[in-house]
C-alpha cells in the first residue's frame, strides 16, 4: 500500500511522569491533543507504526553509534526507566520482523542503516506509544537517529532517510503510519532544564509544516545549539518525517510551552491527501 498517516509529537518523561507539576489545563489540553492524534491515526487503519525517535543512551553508545538504526525484532520491551518515575508500566511491544526486514532492505538501497534485532525502548518511544497505541496492539517499527553523540547525522541525510522510508512504504503491501518524535528547543538534564525557546519553536514548526526543505536543511548544529539547546538536535526526527512527506503540508494541531514537561509540547499531522500523496482512506 503506502504511507497512510504521518505526524510528529513530543516526548519527555515529564509528560507522563510529572503530570501533577503542570497546570491542569496545560496537561489536560496536551493529553487531549495526543488523544486526537491517536484517533486520526486509527482512522487510517494502519498495519504498523514506524516511530522515528532519538533515544537517550538506552541502547546505543559511542562504541558503535549508528547514524540511523531500524528495529528488526519480533517484539521489543519498554520502558527501560523506572515505571513509577515515568508513569508508564513495562510492556512487551509487538514488532514485525518480516515487515521490518523488507523495509530495511529497501531503505538500504539509498541510506545506510544499522539494524537491531532487540531494542529496549526508553521514554523517547514509550511516551508516544502510551498515547498513540495505549493497548500495545499495533506492530511498532522503531527507528533511531543519532541526536546525542557527535558527530550527529547531517540534517540532509535525515531528510534522505525519510525519503527512503517513503519509497519503502510505497512498495509494501501494508498500510504504514509514521510518527517522528523529538523535543524542539529544550535543554534536558542540564542546568537549563525547563528552558524553552518559543520563538525558535514557532519558527521551526512553521517551516516544518510548510515542508520547506531548503529552510529545514539550512539550520546548522551551532544555530540549533545556541537557540534550541542540545535537545534541539532532535529536530532530525521531524526533518525525517518531512522527507517522507515531501510535497505535503502539515497542521500543527497543538503547540504550547509547558516548562514542567521541559519541552514545547507539540502535535502535528501531515495532510497526506495533498497533491502527490496517497489518500489515507
Amino acid at each position: 500500500m503506502a504511507l497512510v498517516f504521518a505526524g510528529v509529537c513530543s516526548h519527555a518523561p515529564g509528560i507522563t511522569g510529572r503530570t501533577h507539576l503542570a497546570k491542569p489545563e496545560d496537561k489536560d489540553s496536551f493529553h487531549a491533543a495526543y488523544d486526537g492524534m491517536r484517533v486520526s491515526l486509527e482512522e487510517t487503519r494502519p498495519d504498523a507504526l514506524i516511530v522515528i525517535g532519538a533515544e537517550h543512551f538506552a541502547n546505543f553508545f559511542m562504541n558503535n553509534m549508528p547514524t540511523f538504526a531500524i528495529g528488526m525484532g519480533d517484539s521489543y520491551e519498554g520502558p527501560i526507566e523506572d515505571e513509577a518515575w515515568l508513569g508508564i508500566k513495562k510492556h512487551k511491544v509487538p514488532g514485525n520482523r518480516d515487515l521490518s526486514t523488507r523495509l530495511i532492505q529497501r531503505v538500504m538501497q539509498d541510506v545506510d542503516v544499522s539494524y537491531a534485532e532487540e531494542w529496549k525502548f526508553d521514554h523517547g518511544i514509550m511516551v508516544p506509544l502510551n498515547f498513540l497505541t495505549p493497548r500495545y496492539d499495533l506492530d511498532i517499527i522503531p527507528i533511531n537517529i543519532n541526536c546525542q553523540g557527535p558527530p550527529l547525522s547531517p540534517l540532509a541525510r535525515s531528510y534522505a532517510l525519510g525519503q527512503a522510508l517513503r519509497r519503502a512504504c510505497d512498495e509494501t503491501p501494508e498500510r504504514i503510519a509514521l510518527v517522528g518524535t523529538g523535543g524542539i528547543s529544550h535543554w534536558p538534564a542540564t542546568p537549563n532544564s525547563g528552558k524553552i525557546n518559543e520563538d525558535f519553536d514557532r519558527e521551526f514548526l512553521g517551516i516544518w509544516a510548510a515542508n520547506k526543505k531548503s529552510e529545514l536543511l539550512a539550520y546548522t548544529d551551532e544555530d540549533i545549539y545556541r537557540r534550541a539547546g542540545q535537545g534541539g538536535f532532535e529536530i532530525r526526527t521531524f526533518i525525517a518525517v518531512a522527507g517522507a512527506t515531501a510535497g505535503a503540508t502539515a497542521d500543527i494541531r497543538y503547540y504550547r510551552p509547558i516548562p514542567p514537561f521541559a519541552v514545547g509540547c507539540t502535535i502535528g499531522v501531515v495532510n497526506l491527501q495533498q497533491a502527490g500523496m496517497r489518500t489515507a482512506a
Binding site: 537517550h56 543512551f57 538506552a58 553508545f61 559511542m62 562504541n63 527501560i80 529496549k120 546525542q148 553523540g149 557527535p150 534536558p188 538534564a189 542540564t190 542546568p191 532544564s193 548544529d221 551551532e222 545549539y225 545556541r226 542540545q230
Partner: protein
C-alpha cells in the same frame, strides 16, 4: 581516553544489572576495568556530580547516576550549577559543541 570510558561506565551502570552489582560490591574493581583519570575516579567516588558535568558527561547519562546516589531532581540541577561555579565551564563533550 578522554571522556569515553567515563561515559561508558555510566552507560553500563544504567543498563547492565551485572555492572550495577559490581558497582555495589566492588567499586574499585569496577573502576579498574575502565581507562579513567584520577580526577574522573574521584568525581565518581565522592560523587561530585558537578565535576562530572564539567568533565563533559552527557546529562542523559549523568541524571541516572545522580538518582542512583540519591539526588532529588532539583539537587541534581543545582549540583551542575555549583560544578560550573567551582570548576569552570564544561571541558569536553556535546556541551562544548559551540565555542562562546
Amino acid at each position: 581516553m578522554i571522556l569515553y570510558y567515563l561515559q561508558k561506565l555510566l552507560f553500563q551502570l544504567n543498563r547492565d544489572p551485572a555492572t550495577r552489582k559490581q558497582y555495589e560490591s566492588d567499586f574499585d574493581g569496577l573502576l579498574m576495568e575502565y581507562d579513567l583519570t584520577h580526577e574522573e575516579k574521584e568525581a565518581l567516588g565522592k560523587p561530585d556530580i558537578g565535576l562530572l558535568y564539567v568533565l563533559g558527561v552527557n546529562g542523559q547519562l549523568l541524571m541516572h547516576y545522580a538518582a542512583l546516589k540519591g539526588y532529588a531532581w532539583p539537587d541534581y540541577i543545582q549540583s551542575m550549577k555549583d560544578g560550573v561555579a567551582q570548576h569552570g565551564p564544561v571541558r569536553a563533550g556535546i556541551y562544548t559543541m559551540v565555542e562562546d
